[in-house]
């Protein structure tokens, strides 16, 4: 049996430090296995949140060797063995204790996005017709498990703390799923530009890099939304065309 060295951040809002641990690990172990073993054997009071252990619930988000990861999907054998593995709480949200942060800000943000507003039903029985190819585009966004790793890595939240003015990549994905939906009739472009602060995103693609669901956040959600905002606010030519067409 092999041993792996860990440095796990312990503490709360008043401060904290890394604590060293040695764990006997089995082949196939993920970071969460090791953390749970440490919790069971040595640090019974260590706070850690997890649920499905299958990359589905998005609860076990943390920073492993400095990058936001799902602990349950990060295999030990993919990490360098020569140095201790560091595990820290997310940096974009207030710390509760040890590896647990308070992500409730995200749920508040979600409420601020205009909900789905379908057009009138296509048929008398109250149903609609949709083409698969039109739905395909938004299906990618629906894979989101709300792990908030993208929110954590985004420097607008992480380093600049623009929580008041910027909804973060997760919610651009959410807004894109609504805004591009073939049945939706709502217009969220003014909100995106103003309250949701899409202009703060400088398309550095860190969110895309960390998304465990492989959602192409920047290219498929944020940039297309930015382009829609340009239509609405920054393109006099588009305005002219709209005027001429009487739309």
């Amino acid at each position: 049996m092999k041993t792996a060295a860990f440095k796990i951040w312990r503490g709360d809002a008043s401060g904290g430090a890394f604590q060293d641990f040695q764990v006997d690990v089995k082949p196939g172990y993920v970071v969460l296995d090791a953390v749970r073993k440490i919790q069971a054997d040595e640090a019974h009071d260590m706070a850690v949140r997890w649920n499905c252990k299958a990359g589905r619930c998005g609860s076990c988000s943390a920073e492993v060797n400095g990058m936001p990861r799902l602990m349950c999907m990060t295999k030990l054998h993919d990490l360098p063995e020569d140095q201790p593995i560091t595990v820290e709480p997310l940096k974009a949200f207030p710390i509760v204790r040890d590896l647990v942060t308070d992500v409730s800000w995200n749920y508040e943000v979600k409420k601020r996005i205009k909900p789905f507003k379908p057009r009138a039903p296509d048929h008398e029985d109250g149903t609609w017709e949709m083409h698969q190819e039109d739905v395909d585009r938004v299906m990618e966004f629906r894979k989101c498990i709300e792990c908030f790793l993208c929110q954590d890595v985004c420097h607008v939240l992480r380093d600049h703390h623009k929580h008041e003015d910027f909804i973060g990549p997760r919610f651009f994905v959410y807004a894109a799923a609504l805004e591009m939906h073939p049945l939706d009739e709502e217009d969220r472009r003014d909100d995106l530009r103003q309250e949701h602060g899409i202009g703060y995103c400088n398309i550095t693609k860190c969110c895309t890099k960390v998304c465990p669901e492989g959602i192409t956040i920047t290219d498929n959600a944020i940039i297309p939304l930015k382009e829609r905002v340009v239509d609405r606010a920054y393109d006099p030519l588009a305005k002219l065309v709209q005027l001429v067409r009487g739309k």
Binding site: V96, E133, V230
Partner: protein, 268 residues
């Protein structure tokens, strides 16, 4: 539960990170690559000579609006050009491809990291506390990208015409132009292929040809266009770099052949 959540964690200072990998490598490569291109293209634009060879015209100088090379569309160097200003035909046109790349979504993300450390790399501390993003002046101007795209599409046509011209060579015996193929023709053709793959994969184009619609299935032509652009868009970064390198190389090629340093081999 221990303490209730309070403030956000303290920001990390510049360059501070727990990342173990070579996070600085990618921004460093971008920095060096873009700097090399900027230095070379500026130097080349200032030269004002050795940008043609026969019917070859360096893409840095195309279209040549005014100039003395014989390729000029509107005549020689204009008399109204300020005498105290250095002159080169490239000055009149380079703003268009330059502006197109400067405002390209891919390059923006890349140079914000490499040149402005905003952030230096993902999950690495930043040098500045204040942040305006693209929400305020000056970077809000990046939203003009689609207008540069319109110019870039016109340039693509012009550069394609240059390839057509580069298929014609003056026969020294008769003085007539005959169809031929030189290595330079291939270099310029490759330039159009790579530049086309880059330009036609533009995010703004993707939006304009169909991305803006929610029910693309109702518009088959736009749907096909959207699929094509999306396909190139997935490799936008790759084509951004390949086309950048090749446009520079095309200028080097024409320049060195024109200076007599390289020989332009004719395939037929």
């Amino acid at each position: 539960m221990a303490s209730a959540p309070t403030a956000l964690p303290v920001r990390r200072s510049f360059g501070e990170t727990m990342r173990r990998d070579a996070w600085w490598l990618q921004p460093a490569v971008v920095f060096l690559g873009l700097s090399a291109f900027i230095v070379y293209s500026t130097w080349a634009a200032f030269q004002g000579e050795h940008y043609t060879f026969g019917n070859y015209l360096s893409p840095f100088y195309s279209p040549e609006l005014f100039g003395d090379s014989g390729h000029a569309l509107l005549g020689p160097k204009p008399s109204w050009w300020f005498s105290w200003l250095p002159w080169s035909p490239a000055f009149l046109i380079l703003w268009a491809p330059g502006g197109f790349r400067l405002t390209c979504y891919y390059y923006r993300g890349a140079y914000y990291k490499a040149f402005w450390a905003d952030p230096p790399s993902c999950a690495v501390g930043e040098p500045r506390k204040s942040y305006l993003g693209e929400r305020h002046f000056p970077l809000i101007l990046q939203n003009v990208h689609r207008f540069f795209l319109y110019f870039a599409l016109i340039f693509l046509l012009i550069l394609s015409y240059d390839v057509w011209r580069a298929l014609w060579f003056v026969d020294p015996n008769t003085g007539e132009e005959v169809l031929g193929l030189g290595v330079g023709t291939l270099v310029l053709a490759m330039n159009v292929v790579l530049l086309g793959s880059y330009t036609l994969g533009c995010h703004s184009l993707r939006h304009l040809v169909g991305g803006r619609l929610n029910q693309l299935s109702r518009k088959p032509v736009q749907k096909s266009a959207y699929s094509c652009v999306t396909c190139l868009n997935k490799r936008h970064m790759m084509f951004a770099w390949m086309s950048l390198f090749w446009v520079g190389f095309s200028d080097v090629y024409v320049r060195l052949v024109s200076m007599g340093v390289w020989t332009d081999w004719r395939l037929f």
